[in-house]
Symmetry: C2
Subunit: 416 residues, 2 copies
């Protein structure tokens, strides 16, 4: 029953390595790609020829030498088409149009009323955000090769294509089908934890490490996990729900129904609850919107508000304890923080978490443990979803380049 | 930086598949092995020839047909040599002598005084347990191909070969070297969570599933984790320390120094603490030895003791919550319980945990979730360590057959 890789899988992985080298290095010669990937020059030459013939790569420059043939510098051809990455949250839809080198071109955003949750309303919001990102430029819409959409809650890409979104009370919604009808473009749906992990693997610490947890702090909290270069999906594509692991048995009520979850302390409502415990009349609690609350906390902290300093202290304590569990269980060396709470409060949370984390981690897992705010640019959910959509487009071209498939899926073909 | 498999890695993995098929099927023809492993018959024939020439396999039977050549049935040759697997705990050393088909032959056990923790004392105890298992039979000692020793605490096999054992206050002890001097045989050291995971992968639910958590309940508690067929080791071989993740922030003092760890509720001392909270004068608490305490609890439960029924209820509540975290974080479909607490109290804990687990797991991770007591026979730590020692012996023969190496380690060679 142990799954097994085949020669074909190796070739597909090598193909991804070539793309990844080009994302990292920019325009490169075949020799540079071979050196970077440690693939043979023959393998690189074959894969490059495939990509050139499908227009995925182009010759970006010719480099002349004093003798011999000039070197060709290869690059992903941005003109090959467009990819859209979409981040659907409970309060907004943010869409980014990318070229296939995953350089962002334009954005579109639509606000969602969190009290309106019909399928038609949300699908319409997604379609409008994509249209806003794509714009009305000549023929732009026709150039889109794929759309990747991150949906909150539990998502089963491929087979089931259903969504269980706790806040929306959706069950088994055929969201890929609905969106494909609305957008008339191939749509791939996944969940945001998988998207932030993939963007970190392609464009963040994945460049220096194979194992990482990408911890998202926002309305909800969760962790995208990669181990030894593979995105951990779990048996039902539901891995990473760190926000619903315990901080406190039988503690605060969580919106998932359980008590004492990490999210009940580190989600925005959890941080609001902590503030109310310290000072229920604090003005920051009067902000009706979650983002405004977090911004008010950041502003107050910068101004030296002692109540908010105590809030930051408690929140850092909860975060250090909850990150400690991730490290203790998986002995994972890199934690990157993402999401708007992370961004807004990094200055106060990160140093405190680094200082306290050793109290929560067994000594054996401490060497080289790194906690930092993610350096992935832009909206990492939209970027990760665009990377998934690109992966799927390449698969449809007959050039599979898997960067995220769990090992078991990559290894299903019998060896011939 | 994403590691990559090479053709040589594929061949090594295929070699392991052949061995695994023989462990599962017993004596088999090349055709049966090919069908079971989905390897080509040519590949199977090549690998079988290698194994035959090194004496790892033998022709166990010839099966005659009415026409054509007879089929050869192949089996692991039990006479090729012996492997010893050793389970070192804080209160005992248990050693099992196996043939290289990993069939147990004989056992030896030595009691350790938990207050005596010098290196010489522990090393001597291990040597005596191995000698007791091997016995004084003619030449048995000379036939031993390798010894696998599980040590409590943090173990870095290979490079560091050091141990940090919290209860023994050992730091950076070169245990492989010390043992190899004492035993004059190649020694491989690892930690018990890796051993129980490997035995489950080879001889337990690994036969039907690629992802599992093997939860060990004894003096300490922890979880061996396999995902998509790979043993999760972590950056410092320290993954699986589920016993030191939080059940209760700032809760009961744990012997690791942190407060509120799972082990402080589910380790034997944790269960004793729970009983003392219900009835500090309960007679079971008068048992001086941990195993006698657990046996007294089992006996009392069987006799209908209402205080112990309340203890079982609370312990099952803690266990369901803590297992829920494992499932929620990793979306892992199989949990097997091992260790002597699991064995002694299964009748009371398992049904209660199964009933409560859905309250602690997101709905998306519930389908097909299975919790059961491990069916791996004998001492799973000793068996797992013997499997590691066999893996290392095959590597020394020039026939690497990796069953446990993390993907990143398996994939370090450049492709040629």
């Amino acid at each position: 029953m142990v799954p097994r890789q085949t020669s074909r899988d190796l070739r597909n992985e090598s193909r991804f390595e070539v793309l990844r080298a080009l994302f990292e290095l920019g325009p490169s010669t075949r020799q540079e790609i071979a050196r970077h990937t440690r693939l043979s020059t023959a393998t690189v030459a074959t894969l490059v020829t495939e990509f050139l013939s499908e227009g995925v790569l182009r010759i970006a420059a010719l480099e002349r030498r004093t003798v011999g043939r000039p070197y060709e510098r290869l690059a992903i051809d941005p003109d090959r088409g467009r990819i859209v990455g979409v981040d659907v949250a409970e309060t907004y839809v943010a869409a980014t149009l990318f070229d296939i080198a995953l350089t962002p071109i334009s954005h579109g955003e639509v606000t969602l009323d969190e009290h309106e949750n019909s399928q038609a309303y949300v699908v319409d919001g997604i379609v409008r955000a994509v249209e806003a990102a794509v714009g009305t430029g000549a023929g732009e819409a026709d150039r889109i090769l794929g759309v990747g959409v991150s949906m909150p809650g539990q998502v089963s890409p491929g087979a089931g294509v259903s969504v269980f979104a706790p806040n929306w009370d959706w069950h088994e919604v055929k969201i890929e089908e609905l969106l494909a009808q609305g957008l008339r473009i191939p749509v791939y749906v996944d969940n945001p934890l998988k998207a932030v992990a993939l963007s970190e693997m392609w464009f963040g610490v994945g460049r220096v490490a194979d194992s990482m947890a990408v911890v998202n702090l926002g309305t909800g909290v969760g962790a995208g996990i990669a181990i030894d270069g593979a995105l951990i999906r779990g048996a039902n594509n539901n891995a990473g729900e760190w926000g619903h692991t315990l901080l406190q048995l039988d503690g605060r009520q969580c919106r998932c129904g359980r008590r004492g979850c990490v999210e009940a302390y580190l989600g925005v409502h959890g941080i609001e609850t902590s503030l109310a415990e310290i000072d229920k009349d604090h003005p920051a609690l009067r902000q009706p919107l979650q983002r405004d609350f977090i911004d008010a906390v950041a502003t107050g902290l910068a101004a030296g508000d002692p109540v908010l300093a105590e809030l930051a202290r408690r929140t850092a304590h909860y975060l250090a304890a909850a990150l400690g569990d991730l490290v203790t269980l998986l002995d994972i060396p890199y934690i990157t923080l993402t999401g708007w709470t992370s961004t807004a409060l990094a200055e106060w949370l990160v140093p405190a978490v680094r200082a306290e984390l050793p109290d929560h981690v067994l000594p054996g897992s401490l060497p080289d443990l790194t906690v930092e705010v993610s350096r992935v640019p832009g909206n990492p959910v939209a970027l990760g979803m665009a990377a998934f959509a690109l992966e799927h487009f390449l698969g449809r071209l007959g050039l599979p380049s898997p960067a995220s498939a769990p090992i078991a899926r990559r290894r299903t073909r019998p060896q011939s």
